[in-house]
Symmetry: C2
Subunit: 143 residues, 2 copies
Amino acid sequence: MYSKKSPKEILHQYGLKVTNARVKVLHVLMQSQVALSHGDIFSRINGNGLDKVTLYRTLSSFVNAGLAHKVATEDRTWLHALHMPEERDEGVEDHAHFVCDTCERIYCLPLVTEAAAAVPIKESGFQVKSHEYRLHGTCPECH
Amino acid sequence: MYSKKSPKEILHQYGLKVTNARVKVLHVLMQSQVALSHGDIFSRINGNGLDKVTLYRTLSSFVNAGLAHKVATEDRTWLHALHMPEERDEGVEDHAHFVCDTCERIYCLPLVTEAAAAVPIKESGFQVKSHEYRLHGTCPECH
DNA sequence: AATATTATTGCAACAAAGTTGCATTTTTGC
DNA sequence: GCAAAAATGCAACTTTGTTGCAATAATATT
């Protein structure tokens, strides 16, 4: 899905210095279809000795650079996921997240912009700059 | 907006015991157009000596009873707001929240269900049970 | 290829938000 | 009014994430 580009190339493209930590974290994120918590990523990487603070800062740098985004969960943690490839190319700001109430995975879904724009802000005076559509239910794994 | 019913009546209606804490918290929520944090509510009530834990538990009881709902914020706290009156009557599960990027207030907006339903879950296998549409931008107070 | 500059890392200590256990008090159905 | 059940207050605790700072690593330049 993230096609031919290597973590290193992607980091370059986003103006991030190429470090061990970043390559590893990016690699983990690239392999996941779902948004991951700090703990998810941490446990997939250690062994390779990476400080928890470094991981926080790495994720933060990804978000700042526009490479990833984060989603607040029900249990006051953050999940991180890379932007969809088409988002990365086009700078789209819309997001749809599907929260599975059974397994608690959060999937990032492509969101068609017309649907987002159709939402009625009848109360005028609100200027919308970005969207997040969040769906709850049961994911394919949990049927 | 919450019309004629008193906090006491509403608590009864939702099967919650009528206590000082609940009446005070409900009163505060009824007077607010925006979702409030624990801190917001706490500071509007003390003077009247209410323990922080009691407030957490009170809010929790409101959510469990279906009287209020909560929204996770960008800084990993919860905001609480009563359901819209029409939601309280009809058991609608959709939500739209407008997050003002300037003043950080979160408004609960009525969300028209057709718009929500129109979101494309082309990836089938996802069973949607509830929605939250989250909009970011600038609110009328901040223009 | 070595170096200077600048950003990143690791560690320890810290902060904030929310939770748990338990004894005491309050509600409420009878 | 009384008994049973639930809510409250307090203190200690957990979890998640942050800050300061010295040591280390990455990159542009020579």
